[in-house]
Symmetry: C2
Subunit: 338 residues, 2 copies
């Protein structure tokens, strides 16, 4: 069975993908530098996977370190999760975002090429659609970026297109994630943001578990049914399965592709709050505060291309997303901290 | 007087800018790795400048090397010329282009920041206008890239905009070069492309000097007066003066800016051939061959912004460009080769 390298392997989406790949019979080699994740994830993966994870601590921007990884392991394909991902931080630290996100991508690709490994899955994002012109969003929509984080995703995709045009041996998949939430049903791994969460669900769960007093809802005057922002939330385990499907396709059939990974359904902030309160039995006090600059009113995917190309579709609904997020947060009120 | 770091300092435009900066009273520190230039340039700069050039051999992507340069010299501003620049090659080697051009830019900026140096001139290109919607081209025209080289210029500009937005201490100038030709009037330095020239003028001069049998004219069915492509050729010494003007502005006044450096006049391939044959007294046999993919029909600058902002405008016309190109080629039939 094929061996898959996961970069940024102990992050939120990557750790769930690791389990999904193992369940599907793949061998996995994980790499992370723990710059934004915890080594405790490896213990949990051992526990859930039934065997010690194959892991190397390394920075994807470190050429010698990545060369070593490829010398020690025969890698068939890479899923490149490793990247900085906070929009606001990217505006404050653009050099760090460009250097880490593009430098890491380029270094991994160049190392792969030296080892004849040319199958690559890239963690892209719905952020490349900017403020969408129409909904649902198809993959051929206009692309734009409104901050350095988004630029690194946009340029990352472009690099992979240029790479495929230069050398058809490269088969690449750009997966445009919508809004991942939820957690593994075991409640042993999940999203564990450092500092103030940038995303809605971890904020909601931290309020419910008593770590924060109330939720800030950024704007209630958007042109949406209840005035709050609408997003396409997708269960992280569905997202993980999307990676398995993408890898199967890359390994079995020629060609590169770009697909949305979303459910095709939009939920407003207040819908999520209500669903979460119901699922957890806890109140989620919130306050309406001004809009955040750069936030769009509404965004949801047309996921039909992933369905037709990969035979993949999201299976879990909002209730399950909330139940699993809550189980993770309740069992790990301070995340992976001891 | 201020000390200016030139990266890619022994290249064509940089070497002419070096002399112009010295003539204007600046101290210059040059850095190059000779990956696409000759150390002989330094001897010529010594001869023309009347003193040994201050130079360090270093790769701009090498963090330790650039740190050393900034430790040994107190730099007030950087002109970042260092980059790969062949459009066709960029399509074949996208990873190398992104890694070198963006990695170099990011490494230089991060090194500068550590040393409190935040004035930066970036070698951009008219290539960021893609196929222009109207002529002459103003700086606020739509930007696009049609190849990895162009992408690195487009993204490089974006990185600098993001950097300025994140930290107003940064003052940056993006100089969008049109088509540099000509050479220093001494005939001692000039353009010396390796392999087959990608640009018109060195091809023409190599034909005239007998290194090549005939000129290939790529297409004579463009919607231009004589059917051949029209470009805004600018004398490299005018371009060098544009850098001096940009640096003066960055050092004297707050703010960042982006300006075209062109003459505002377009000349067709056949006009250049005719002018060159007249200036050199040599015939320039040519053959019409098919269009090159990606070439646009016509492109010339609106240079008024550089005039109003920097008080700069190009002084030399096509005849002088041809005379100086020819003097350089005739005196150095094999460029800087011994």
């Amino acid at each position: 069975m094929a061996t898959i390298l996961l970069t940024g392997a102990t992050g939120y989406i990557a750790s769930h993908t690791w389990l999904a790949l193992q369940a599907a019979g793949f061998e996995v080699v994980g790499v992370d530098d723990f710059s934004n994740s915890s080594p405790v994830v490896l213990e949990r993966l051992h526990e859930l996977g039934g065997r010690p994870p194959v892991f190397e601590r390394a920075d994807v921007c470190d050429a010698a370190a990545m060369e070593g990884v490829f010398q020690r392991h025969r890698i068939d394909a890479t899923v490149h999760f490793a990247a900085f991902k906070a929009v606001g931080e990217s505006t404050a630290k653009p050099l760090e975002y460009y250097a880490n996100n593009l430098g890491g991508l380029l270094n991994v690709c160049r190392t792969m090429r030296r080892h004849g490994c040319t199958r690559f899955v890239f963690s892209s994002s719905a952020t490349v659609y900017g403020d969408p012109e129409s909904l649902p969003i198809r993959e051929d929509a206009r692309l734009t970026a409104t901050n350095p984080y988004g630029q690194t995703k946009l340029v990352g995709e472009q690099i992979l297109r240029d790479l495929g045009a230069a050398d058809p041996a490269w088969q690449t998949a750009c997966l445009r994630y919508f809004n991942p939430v939820g957690a593994h049903e075991s409640g042993r791994i999940g999203e564990d943001p450092r500092g103030t969460p940038n995303n809605l669900m971890p904020y909601v769960t931290q309020v419910a578990v008593g770590r924060r007093e109330f939720l800030q809802v950024f704007g209630d005057d958007y042109p949406t049914p209840d005035g709050t922002g609408v997003r396409d939330y997708i269960h992280v385990c569905d997202l993980a399965d999307g990676h398995v499907a993408a890898l199967r396709r890359l390994l079995d059939a020629p060609g590169s592709f770009t697909v949305n990974l979303g459910t095709g359904r939009g939920h407003s902030v207040l819908e999520v709050v209500t669903a979460f309160a119901r699922a957890s039995g806890r109140p989620v006090p919130y306050r309406i505060v001004p809009r955040r600059p750069g936030d769009v009113a509404a965004c949801w995917a047309d996921p039909s291309q992933a369905q037709s190309l990969l035979g993949w579709q999201a299976r879990h609904g909002l209730e399950r997303m909330c139940t699993d997020s809550w189980r993770w947060q309740q069992n790990n009120p301070r995340g992976f901290e001891a």
